[in-house]
Symmetry: C2
Subunit: 252 residues, 2 copies
Amino acid sequence: MTSKKTINFFYDVVSPYSWLAFEVMCRYRNVWDVEVKLRPAFLGGIMQKSGNKPPGLVPNKFLYMTKDLQRLAQYVDVPLSPPDDPFEAMFQKGSLAAMRFVTAVQEREKDGDRQVEQVSRELWRRIWSENKDITEPASLSEVPEYLTGMTVKYLALSQGLLIFLQAAKKAGLSDSEIKEVLELCTTQHIKDKLINTTQEALDVGAFGLPMFMYRVNGNAEIFFGSDRFELMAHCIGEKWLGPQPHKSTSKM
Amino acid sequence: MTSKKTINFFYDVVSPYSWLAFEVMCRYRNVWDVEVKLRPAFLGGIMQKSGNKPPGLVPNKFLYMTKDLQRLAQYVDVPLSPPDDPFEAMFQKGSLAAMRFVTAVQEREKDGDRQVEQVSRELWRRIWSENKDITEPASLSEVPEYLTGMTVKYLALSQGLLIFLQAAKKAGLSDSEIKEVLELCTTQHIKDKLINTTQEALDVGAFGLPMFMYRVNGNAEIFFGSDRFELMAHCIGEKWLGPQPHKSTSKM
């Protein structure tokens, strides 16, 4: 039994603020006395069910977000650079297939969460750093050889398939692991797992992502966005050393 | 001539996040090498003209804000406690009369901004700490004696008049100063000044309040909300010492 606080980190790779929060949270895993549980969720479902509207619909807010993200990315030291059409990437294309893929990676990984961390990071990098589309269907001719034998229909229709494969490869998954993940992706179990995680986030009060949640005497405490670390640190009795704790510590 | 950076702080006393940001900004006036210019503006106009919607319309967001404000207030050390009906106070009653009053205080005060700072603080305290209404019209019998002679109609109809008077008194304004401010309140000059400040905020990109703005080579840099101090400090080359810089400094 451990008395460590468990911080659930709900995120979606379509959300750039989730990326910033994710990298900072990953850096603090070994600085704060907490356990971090990565909780891939579906932002589209959270927005729709909570009745929230994308911030990008207000022109001044959208302009601000673009600038705010650039400034924060530089300060937090995350190589984020918005895609050609950030509004389309964030709010119109969606991330259902991508988040099912991440959920399947997590489901397959029994020991720790190194793979789900790496795959998530690679997907963010592709959308938010390399301007790649995670929703284009792959053509059959592009499907790599090691996947022959899998349902052709799934492979051809699957949105973003090639990007997922590249991300998984770069994250260090083997061909056979990737095959397993792809087979898992389409199962009802994985679809349900993503739905359930998203519903759990909504039940404790989500209206967007990223969201942090830990329990105090059974009650959920939530923090929304990438800008509540200092406050959260205060609430859990830990120290905020800025978004780059290792640099900051070495300076002191 | 001074090379100090001037930070324009746009705010409305109806906004609780503005209060938190205001107190932190006031504390840093003497810590950072900056000049702070208080810019009373009208939140209702900014929301309407930018096409933004109150966050309180999304139930999960409203619940979160209430909790977030309590936690932040405690951390920032501002005696904020939400009124009985925060939604009504924030989004339905409005603050036009209050912000004209604050604008008039600022207009009358020639030397510095001690009075406008104090009056703003007292108004926040009344709504956000003492659950008082800033929009109730005063009845004629409640109007203090020193104001006799002023337009009876204005006094009777003016929303929140008694609360403004109390705030101004507590902020240290004399009876004659208060009388001058009340006379200014209804002039076209003050109405226009509030409109112009609000429009200036919109022109540089506002979609809500509080908002910070300074210029770099003539271009406006804006920061929205009470949670960008650490980033703003980084951008202007100053040090973030937490929301209570004097406590934090003395500890180091």
